[in-house]
């Protein structure tokens, strides 16, 4: 088990390293790039003295590495700076309620994607060679190809305008047991549907290929030869083995969700972190942009870490090779 521990440890050490690199890059971009950083902060009618005072106050005349240390230690203590767009409001007061909205529907989408995608992909693989095969492959590739940027306006047109079943956008939160939850309202259906369609199609497509690969394996032939029924073969041998490579898919899935959320929220006017990113870029609100990128990177890293470590525990082959190499 020593090898496994060192693998997990090495993987853990990578997280702060990557976050450090991301934070340096975003910080450098945020401080060096905009020539008018303080002018934006101060507003259009500020006098030169005011601007100089803000510069001094915010420590912008300090050496850049000191500025970075100040920024990061503030960030770690939960002080993300002040928003320009929401004048005077602290970024941390805006970002967390918005992150919560985005997380709500993203978690729903992830769950639905796996619950629907895995059986559908397996089912499609078991029907190989029948008339359903081209139909299911075609459906998967079609829905996996249509990006959120295209599917959301089209779904909006169909369900909100033509059929009138769903609202055209927005987000409606209600307090349930002291927590603001918006997932149970009609507004949540369109975003969840759009992202789930994309996710399910991609996952089912990949799952189908994996199951077909596993069906070719000797141990499946052995199981059949010893007279096992089809059902235990599929559930116990095929699906479990086909699922292993799927874990690596999680990373792509998460990256796609981040991209998808920004576009989706912009299109539908959902006040999550994606719309916040869009607004902040539009109003050159650099403190907000930097906080969003860093928080995004942290969430992404944590999710990848969970996937990687879980993967090692699921697959004994990786565990063994990690132990062997250590």
């Amino acid at each position: 088990m020593q090898g496994l521990a060192s693998y997990v440890l090495r993987r853990l050490l990578l997280v702060p390293l990557i976050l450090f690199i991301v934070s340096v890059v975003t910080f450098a971009l945020g401080r060096y790039a905009p020539s008018d950083y303080v002018e934006i902060q101060a507003g259009p009618s500020a006098r030169p003295e005011t601007i100089e005072r803000i510069r001094e106050e915010r420590g912008l005349n300090d050496p850049i590495h000191e500025q970075y240390v100040t920024y990061i230690s503030n960030f770690l203590r939960g002080d993300f700076g002040t928003s320009v767009r929401y004048r005077g409001v602290d970024v941390e007061d805006v970002i967390f309620p918005r992150l919560w909205i985005t997380l709500q529907y993203n978690i729903a989408v992830l769950l639905l994607t796996f619950v629907i995608g895995i059986p559908v992909g397996t089912w499609a693989a078991l029907r190989r060679g029948t008339w359903m095969d081209p139909l299911s492959i075609g459906t998967f590739v079609l829905f996996a190809s249509v990006p959120v940027l295209v599917s959301v306006p089209l779904l909006q047109w169909l369900f909100a305008v033509q059929l009138g079943w769903l609202p055209t956008g927005g987000w409606e939160s209600r307090e349930i047991l002291g927590v603001e939850i918006g997932l149970l309202s009609a507004e949540a259906i369109l975003p969840v549907m759009a992202l789930t369609l994309l996710g399910v199609a991609g996952l089912a497509r990949y799952m189908r290929a994996q199951v077909l690969d596993v069906l070719d394996q000797d141990y499946v032939r052995t199981a059949r030869a010893k007279g096992l029924n089809e059902y235990p073969i599929v559930t116990r041998h095929v699906v479990r083995n086909a699922l292993l490579p799927i874990a690596t898919l999680m990373g792509f899935e998460l990256a796609a969700l981040i991209t998808g959320s920004i576009i989706l929220e912009t299109l539908l006017g959902i006040p999550g972190i994606g719309l916040y990113a869009y607004e902040s870029i539009g109003s050159r609100d650099y403190d907000s942009i930097m906080a969003i990128v860093l928080i995004g990177a942290v969430v992404f890293q944590l999710a990848m870490l969970v996937v990687d470590v879980a993967y090692v525990f699921i697959d004994p082959r990786i565990r063994l090779s990690a132990e062997a190499s250590a």
């Binding site: 971009l29 190809s145 295209v150 055209t168 990373g251 912009t266 870029i281 969003i292 995004g296 992404f300």
Partner: protein, 321 residues
């Protein structure tokens, strides 16, 4: 972006047989789906390349007496809120897609990806380690967010650099033509876009570098650059074709998405601009036809790239499926 990366992952792990170029193409063209996808891609890209010749109007030519016109013989797809010809805007948008994806594929996949992959695979050891760790790091950050922040923050800087260049060289109109944005977007996409190609090339070089003919060339005193360029690179053309196809689709989508968010191409037509202007609850309600034009083209393009990518993967690794 995930589909292309996924398929690239499949390519990396699947055992790829070297297939001669001729048989490779013939097998591909025997598949009607692949042929249809190629035709669609070539039509859209061809329209983009020929935009100055075939677009009936300029993309920003407004006609305020003729707004929201229905399709007619003059305006085949009608006009928008400012009386701009929708078909012309589509054609000019395709040009933007061609330019960005071309620049990114050449800069990111071919120049960065292939050379780093070759170096990494051939000179195993420390160099390889550094390159692959950087690749790992790039894979484990939320790429889209970083491209977003790079474009949002550096735009003003790049603009002013281009204006300075205009002053020095005396070439006018560079900064206004949208060139700075196109340049910045391609560079940002290239920085994150070389990893797939580099990994693929590296894995192939690793398996080929101990091949007898490479050992023979080395024994005869061929230099490393010569072995890489004359003996290894030609073996990789098929793989490079597949990766480039997948990359083209991913880059096209990234360009449209970033432009939609207002940080990509500006002062130039783009499917992203069109969707941004024609989407939204009011527009979808009042003028759905406007929205269908860019969305259907983008969907068709993405579908074609995915279908072609599937077909190419199938042809190269026939065991799958």
């Amino acid at each position: 972006m995930s589909q292309a990366e996924l398929a690239a992952g499949v390519l990396e792990t699947g055992d790829l047989r070297p297939v001669s170029q001729f048989r490779f193409l013939r097998r591909l063209l025997r598949r009607p789906v692949a042929v249809a996808a190629i035709i669609i891609i070539l039509t859209i890209y061809g329209a983009g390349i020929l935009a100055p010749l075939i677009a009936p109007f300029d993309f920003d030519k407004t006609d305020l007496r003729n707004t929201f016109a229905s399709p007619s013989s003059e305006h085949w797809l009608g006009t928008d809120r400012l009386g701009r010809d929708v078909l012309s805007r589509l054609i000019w948008s395709a040009q933007t897609t061609v330019i960005i994806s071309g620049l990114t594929v050449v800069g990111g996949s071919l120049i960065l990806g292939v050379s780093l992959g070759l170096i990494s695979g051939y000179f195993v050891g420390r160099v390889d380690n550094v390159i692959m760790r950087v690749a790992d790091a790039l894979y484990s950050v939320p790429t889209f967010l970083l491209i977003l922040i790079i474009n949002a923050t550096l735009k003003a800087r790049v603009d002013s650099v281009f204006r300075d260049m205009e002053d020095i060289t005396g070439i006018g109109g560079l900064a206004r033509s949208g060139a700075p944005n196109i340049f910045l977007l391609s560079v940002a996409l290239s920085i994150f876009g070389w990893v797939g190609m580099a990994r693929l090339v590296r894995s192939q070089v690793l398996s080929l570098r101990e091949a007898n003919y490479v050992l023979a060339a080395r024994a005869l005193g061929s230099s490393a650059p010569r072995i890489l360029s004359r003996h290894l690179l030609p073996q990789l053309t098929n793989l490079m074709v597949v990766t480039i196809t997948l990359t083209l689709g991913a880059v096209a989508l990234a360009e449209v998405s970033l432009t939609f968010l207002g940080v990509g191409v500006q002062d130039h037509a783009s499917f992203g601009v069109m969707i941004a202007q024609y989407a939204g609850a009011t527009n979808v309600r009042a003028h759905p036809l406007l929205l269908f034009a860019p969305t259907i083209i983008v969907a068709l393009l993405m579908l074609s790239f995915n279908l072609l990518g599937d077909a190419l993967t199938d042809v190269l690794s026939p065991r799958r499926r």
